[in-house]
Symmetry: C2
Subunit: 150 residues, 2 copies
DNA sequence: GTAAGACCTCAACCTTTCTTGAGGTCAAGG
DNA sequence: CCTTGACCTCAAGAAAGGTTGAGGTCTTAC
């Protein structure tokens, strides 16, 4: 625990996340900390990047459980190298691209399709979006998960 | 109740939604039905378009409560005209465009920023995404809601 | 006319992602 | 030393979006 370690409040302020969220992330294996003799959490500065990546991944549409899985493959003890972060980030591209394409398709069809008067919903792209969430099983549907992602 | 009315199972099959979801939508004012003498729901074919629009709106990122609000402004008794649907759809454009821009920004920064080695997270666009969800209040964050929406 | 399958209601439960609160401990400045 | 603000744990709650189940009724095809 070097003098440069951060208390949880510092991390909260710098990351923009709530203290409770940080504890929640730790409980779910997304981040880790050491403890002072008194039992308080101390974070390496490193954690800020990790949190930034977590937030970015959430925006890409990954649920936390999956993000935890991805982060678990990174080296635990030592700081993660730039190229390792980069490799991780690049693996998101396909999902991101797919999400963007879906939205663009939707946008392009919105004007033409909704008001088109086509009564056969079978043919309508709006009525039959490529990615239905109906095969994702129970629970709330995160529309952003494509069926390709199990 | 003309002979062409649909039972809830028919609607479920045609829309790809679960029966329970349809009842849930009705309970929340997103769709409506008439009842047979025996108390079973019957839907006008009209409801399929409405459901398609609801699903599209969800993909655009609107929460159901808000979709309900938008749909509430449509005429209740009679079928909705093409131009009315169109007006509704057009009102989504700005949100959709904003969502697309956010994702594109993220995509563009992913390669350059994550592995860039910039240690000052203050300046890093990834670390400080334009749209933080932190001011959205408690509860699960739907990352797609921009802070502009309340 | 009857049996099977579709529907009904209502309450309870589920997942995700956190927040809130109660009750108590640490750490650091004065 | 002592007070005050930051931390701690653990349990419960919250919001969205539905699903599941129990117990019972309709409809319809034979």
């Amino acid at each position: 625990m070097s003098a440069g370690d951060l208390a949880i409040g510092d991390v909260a302020r710098r990351s923009g996340l709530a203290v409770s969220a940080l504890r929640f992330y730790e409980a779910n294996g997304l981040i880790s900390s050491t403890r002072t003799d008194g039992g308080q959490r101390r974070y390496r500065r490193d954690v800020l990047r990790r949190l930034a990546v977590i937030q970015a991944a959430q925006q890409v549409g990954f649920p936390l459980a999956e993000i935890a899985g991805m982060l678990a493959e990174l080296p635990a003890g030592r700081p993660v190298s730039p190229s390792e972060w980069q490799r991780l980030a690049r693996s998101w591209r396909p999902q991101l691209d797919e999400r963007i394409r879906t939205l663009e398709r939707l946008r392009d069809q919105l004007d033409s399709c909704v008001g088109c008067g086509c009564l056969s919903m079978e043919k309508c792209a709006l009525a039959n979006p490529a990615d239905r969430a109906s095969d994702l099983g129970p629970g709330p549907r995160f529309w952003l998960r494509s069926r390709s992602a199990r």
